[in-house]
């Protein structure tokens, strides 16, 4: 499915649902937000030091959110087209992006419910893809993920989730598409038991299949199984925490054939005062990667974010994350060395991301904002770079 088909389908869904919502005399909710920003970007192509190009750009986004609540059903649709005008970019001056999110929750009975979540992204010269870990511009792309979960309440304190997910990534340029386009299919079972009001324990089984579109020479696909336990704990009204851990096995078309590893993640949410919210966390797992021709990465990630309401009208947000990925020569897909005349090498890549934002609510419907984003990529497998983006903006809720 190309991006035009996706776009047409999305617009059709948008109008169809709008019609349904309009037909409802009660329970409808719309929101329209316009956001205009002026941003300075000091490394627009994420090039190595000394080869950076900088540009100022104008980013205009208009976001429509429509919610519809029926007796047993909730539907939400969000569509956000974005237009970017670059003042100093040789190839072209404009980018147009489309974001579409669709959510359907339906309660068949008090014990049986269905949740469906669909996200579509169509973008030109994207910056952040591949599960939020890669900060590398590749090419125009279409990304779609649909997730469905059937939840069955077996007993008042016990819930079984049966879930499936499909992820699709398609690049426009054939050269990139040949090595990066993939389909991911995931199935999962989660048994959740709320032992006491503050504590829930989860038993989880996941199966994931990654298939790359072009496997003529090199197949980076893999099949992964995860088995583990999870914990959700409300320590106090001001401290919440969750964790999941287990063991995973990944079968690949590589020299090693398969790899097994523990995986885990943990996060804490701390609310020291009504005006301050803090999140901390860490994770470790085997993941797919966009670095060709590797089939696997061992990814460790730490994050922290703080949101603070300075006054009732002024809010400040700071977030940071550190990601470290290790690549093993044994995880290079079979056939790649002959095809690319590569020497099998191991290596690592570290990424630091920082974001700060200040928002001032001028009136009930108007906000002024300013922000800074920083990325630092230090890689043994591809070019290092640093990037700063600073913006000022105005948001209005129509």
């Amino acid at each position: 499915m190309n991006w035009k088909t996706c776009l047409c389908a999305s617009i059709a869904v948008l109008f169809a649902l709008q019609g349904i919502v309009l037909a409802q005399s009660e329970g409808r909710s719309y929101q329209l937000v316009n956001r205009l920003r002026l941003e300075f970007d000091d490394n627009i192509r994420e090039e190595i030091k000394g080869e950076e190009d900088e540009s100022v750009k104008v980013i205009e986004e208009i976001e429509f959110i429509g919610n519809m609540s029926l007796e047993q059903t909730f539907i939400s649709l969000r569509y956000k087209p974005g237009f970017v005008y670059w003042f100093d970019r040789d190839e072209d001056n404009e980018d147009i992006h489309h974001d579409l999110d669709f959510i359907l929750n339906h309660e068949f009975t008090p014990r049986l419910s269905l949740g469906v979540k669909e996200s579509l992204r169509i973008a030109e010269l994207p910056e952040l893809i591949e599960r939020d870990t890669t900060i590398r511009q590749e090419n125009d792309y279409t990304y779609n993920t649909v997730n469905g979960t059937l939840s069955v309440t077996l007993r008042p304190e016990t819930r079984l989730d049966i879930a499936g997910r499909h992820i699709l990534l398609r690049y426009d340029e054939d050269e990139i598409a040949d090595v990066q386009d993939y389909d991911i299919l995931v199935g999962g079972l989660t048994l959740r038991n709320q032992f006491v009001p503050e504590t829930a324990v989860l038993a989880e089984l996941r199966a994931e299949s990654i298939e790359y579109e072009n496997t003529d020479v090199v197949d980076r696909g893999s099949d992964t199984v995860q088995v583990g336990l999870g914990l959700e704990q409300m320590f106090s009204p001001a401290l919440l925490g969750s964790a999941r851990a287990g063991y995973m096995n990944k079968d690949m078309e590589t020299e090693s054939g398969s790899e097994s590893s523990p995986y885990g993640e943990a996060s804490l949410t701390f609310l020291p005062s009504p005006a301050t919210r803090i999140s901390l966390g860490a994770s470790f797992a085997l993941m797919e990667t966009d670095i060709y021709p590797y089939s696997n990465q061992e990814r460790t990630r730490f994050f922290a974010s703080i949101a603070h309401d300075v006054t009732a009208r002024i809010s400040a947000y700071v977030s940071t994350a550190f990601t470290s990925s290790d690549y093993d020569a044994d995880d290079i897909a079979s056939g790649a060395e002959e095809d690319m005349l590569l020497l099998a090498t191991s290596g690592s890549e570290d990424i630091v991301q920082v974001s700060a934002r200040l928002a001032y609510q001028v009136t009930k419907s108007n906000w002024l904002e300013t922000g800074w984003q920083y990325s630092d990529v230090d890689s043994e497998l591809r070019g290092d770079y640093e990037r700063n983006r600073i913006h000022v903006g105005w948001k209005v809720q129509l």
Partner: protein, 195 residues
């Protein structure tokens, strides 16, 4: 592998569905259920999995400064005072409540806004979105190890910031929907039941 995954999902559905159709109806609304409603109405659901757990709903609301007096207790039956407090907090007007320690103050404040919670369904069309709820946990999304879950800001081009998203707000109509979910007894603090 694809076929195996599809077969497992289908078999699970086939075996579990028949046993639940005759389930008895729930008689009370818990805080966990209220949190799920709020997450939908506030536009926070897109930052969560397709069927979030009560904990995940409570966590994202707490990150936005929205929680009952004693924090979220997912099994506790919602009282009128709990509801009044979380609704006012969702409107980001908690600082305007004169006596935050008093449950009655929260209920009275809602009434002063024209939200008559003793007669649900009355419209106050003049009320507009009042707040800018913010999701500050995007990096957590990016740290997921569960392939069923997603990082929240994946691929959004020119994402204005890694850590925040400011484009969600509560409309009065949405607020009304929450209130229509429940019936309020005249007593200020006591458990309530759905329609």
């Amino acid at each position: 592998m694809k076929k195996t995954i599809a077969m497992i999902v289908l078999l699970c559905v086939a075996f579990t569905v028949p046993g639940v159709w005759a389930a008895p109806a729930k008689e009370q609304v818990t805080q966990g259920e209220l949190a799920a409603i709020l997450v939908n109405v506030l536009g926070l659901a897109r930052f969560l999995p397709a069927a979030p757990t009560p904990y995940e709903c409570a966590e994202v609301l707490a990150l936005n400064g929205i929680q009952p007096k004693d924090g979220w207790n997912v099994d506790k039956v919602v009282t009128k005072a709990d509801l009044a407090r979380v609704i006012v907090l969702a409107m980001k007007r908690g600082d305007e409540v004169k006596n935050p320690d008093s449950d009655k103050s929260w209920v009275d404040f809602l009434a002063s806004l024209g939200v008559n919670i003793d007669s649900i369904g009355q419209a106050a069309d003049s009320l507009r979105p009042l707040a800018e709820p913010v999701v500050a946990n995007v990096f957590k999304g990016g740290s997921q190890t569960d392939p069923l879950k997603d990082s929240q800001e994946f691929g959004e081009p020119d994402s204005p910031e890694f850590g925040t998203d400011a484009n969600v707000a509560l409309t009065y109509v949405a607020l009304q929907q929450i209130l229509q979910e429940v019936e309020f007894p005249p007593v200020v603090v006591r458990p309530m039941t759905p329609n």
